[in-house]
């Protein structure tokens, strides 16, 4: 019998573990190894350079820029997406009329949920190509065209969107425009998530609050929001990953994939540029390892901050 179990376990694990080792683990380990060399990627010549690549990271102007852009997304993407999603979920679930059964959701909330979820099922590439057309820097673009029609923007001076490196609140405008896309595509999903969490809060909690004389705003801020804490913190961690993964948008939408003039560089775009355009694979791998360490630390930190006793009901 013992023997049978061992054979079964090995048989079931062999293929998945084998594939995973070959296509995922091994490349990662190799990357860590290359990061200690000056390998260019195309030649067979590679020399061990120790931690030189890592030290170089600290004095690299481009990396520093990309790092702050990543931090910008890391803060703003979760912040704006969650705020908007919570607000939409709030309107959806308590915006309706009040009656004996308490406060209801608005009429048609099911339809709203279906629509708000649309961007979630579209691929990032579809979203990027679509927004490229929306953001066109002439009257043919959706936004510029509309603004010209109502006379807010003159035809000679359209909004340049992806070509605008001018800082707004200290951050290049192009990043704000990218942020808008991220929030547009993410809000619906998290709204549905929060909405489901809101509906799993038992009705009698609300009934008790209403009996005690709480209005809908009080109920929301004193009861719903605290009870949603778990969901919100999970959402924050996930959006953090998404914020680190804005590369698809940068890749498709910005001029020369990180432009104009490096105004929209993020870690991933610098990494790809260094590896495939500049041909410095060793250095690019060091960037990747640094990014991985950064991601893991961040995930650990977020889980630590947001951890709290679970409320059972």
């Amino acid at each position: 019998m013992r023997h049978g179990v061992a054979r079964f376990v090995t048989g079931f694990l062999a293929l998945p573990v084998g594939l995973y080792l070959f296509y995922v683990v091994w490349p990662f380990l190799q990357a860590a190894g290359y990061s200690l060399t000056d390998w260019g990627g195309y030649s067979d010549r590679q020399q061990f350079v120790g931690l030189d690549n890592y030290l170089r990271l600290f004095s690299d102007e481009l990396i520093r820029k990309a790092f702050w852009h990543n931090v910008f997304f890391l803060i703003t993407v979760p912040l704006f997406t969650i705020a908007l999603a919570l607000f939409l979920a709030f309107l959806l679930n308590v915006g309706g009329r009040e009656d004996k059964a308490g406060i209801r959701g608005v009429f048609g909330s099911g339809l709203y949920k279906v629509i708000f979820f649309f961007p979630q099922v579209l691929s990032l590439v579809v979203i990027a190509v679509m927004w490229q057309q929306i953001y066109r820097a002439d009257g043919q673009g959706l936004i510029n065209g509309m603004l010209m029609k109502i006379g807010l923007v003159s035809e000679d001076d359209p909004i340049t969107f992806m070509y605008d490196p001018e800082p707004f609140l200290g951050v290049p405008a192009v990043l704000w425009w990218l942020l808008l896309i991220a929030v547009w595509s993410g809000a619906g999903f998290y709204m549905v998530l929060f909405s489901a969490a809101m509906q799993s809060i038992p009705k009698d909690v609300y009934e008790a609050a209403i009996l005690d004389g709480a209005g809908r705003f009080h109920t929301f801020f004193r009861i719903t929001l605290p009870l949603l804490r778990d969901t919100v913190s999970v959402a924050w961690v996930y959006l953090g990953f998404i914020a680190l993964d804005m590369y698809a948008l940068v890749f498709v939408m910005t001029p020369s994939q990180g432009g104009p003039n490096h105004a929209s560089e993020i870690f991933a775009s610098v990494l790809n540029f260094t590896a495939f355009q500049k041909g410095q694979f060793g250095y690019a791998c060091a960037m990747g390892v640094a990014l991985a360490i950064f991601t893991i630390l961040l995930a650990a930190l977020q889980l630590r901050i947001t951890r709290r006793e679970r409320i059972e009901y």
């Binding site: 079964f8 079931f12 694990l13 296509y23 309706g96 990032l124 057309q133 549905v192 969901t231 790809n272």
Partner: protein, 320 residues
């Protein structure tokens, strides 16, 4: 859900006296009054409707622009009603823009990769969740670690590994469907194992034990008892993988570059990127819009049909 129920008598009644307002006086006083509630209700609708338009309008604009002529796209970019429906835009994007073949490539790859991901993923998750053996935790954490590591880090060695494999086994080299299937499976295993692991843990042990007593082998137990019981979990993770792999663009861009003379095996995301880059030179705007529409509509339609499953499938993926 907000279903306003009308009593049949109230609707058909001959005398249309308004029903007496039943506002509990005490609640009205705190909640800002009936007028306040009505205002808030109106505000909710207004805001929700504005956001709904912001979501739908761009999509509609893309679909409608796909039905215009090029000159119409330039002359009247904003109009939502084409002068005459230009179906040949779709034909052009389908053949000249290669969307057609890329579409079929994607479906071919996904059929294999999603099936294998589900099979291998749940096999591994099941063994890791229900059997004690040395190295169990190690393997589990190995799978888990893949969730946090950025894919870009592995890009260069992965490309090299695939390239070297291709020298010996061409059907596993760059620009091959089978290779892409295996790569998709490997990169989807992390989350699939993580998700199914927690799912298999929740299944009751009594049934498994009963099966054992009846003399079922371990693998028979898995395929005919445990897997059917895990169906809700499988649906969720299945939807998650279909969408995730359909939307994948980085791995194909890295691994599916066809050298001149090789067959074009690219997937749909690459086709779109190609269209959007080329459109700058050829200014085939309507063709581009048609390409985006064709990549977008199938997913949207599937979503609308199965919206409940898709929503709960994807959100379950996050809240596990």
């Amino acid at each position: 859900m907000s279903t306003v129920t009308h009593t049949p008598g109230g609707l058909a009644g001959p005398d249309q006296t308004p029903p007496p307002a039943r506002t509990p006086p005490q609640r009205a006083a705190v909640g800002g009054g009936r007028a306040g509630a009505r205002f808030f209700n109106g505000f909710s609708h207004l805001f929700l409707a504005v956001w709904a338009i912001m979501v739908v309008y761009p999509l509609l604009w893309v679909v409608m622009s796909a039905l215009k002529t090029d000159s119409e796209v330039i002359r009247k970019p904003l109009s939502l009603i084409p002068e005459r429906l230009q179906w040949d835009n779709f034909a052009r994007a389908w053949t000249e823009g290669h969307i057609g073949s890329f579409f079929l490539n994607t479906i071919l790859v996904l059929t294999g990769s999603v099936f294998l991901t589900m099979l291998l993923g749940s096999m591994a998750a099941y063994v890791l969740a229900r059997y004690e053996f040395r190295g169990n935790r190690l393997i589990y954490y190995m799978f888990l670690s893949g969730l946090t590591l950025p894919i870009y880090l592995a890009a260069v060695p992965l490309f090299k590994g695939v390239y070297n494999t291709g020298v010996v086994l061409p059907f596993l080299g760059p620009n091959s469907h089978l290779m892409l299937i295996l790569v998709y499976v490997a990169w989807s295993l992390s989350f699939t194992v993580f998700f199914m692991h927690s799912f298999f843990r929740t299944l009751p042990t009594a049934i498994a034990e009963a099966g054992m007593v009846d003399g079922a082998s371990h693998s028979r137990l898995f395929f005919s008892v445990m897997l059917p019981m895990a169906k809700p979990g499988l649906i969720s993770i299945g939807i998650f993988n279909v969408l995730g792999q359909w939307n994948q663009w980085y791995l194909p861009t890295l691994l599916m570059q066809s050298v001149a003379g090789e067959p074009k095996n690219q997937v749909i995301s690459q086709g779109l990127i190609e269209l959007s880059v080329n459109q700058g030179y050829r200014s085939d705007w309507s063709g581009l819009f048609a390409g985006v529409t064709m990549a977008m509509l199938p997913v949207l339609i599937v979503y609308i049909v199965f919206q409940r499953q898709v929503q709960s499938g994807l959100t379950a993926g996050v809240s596990k």
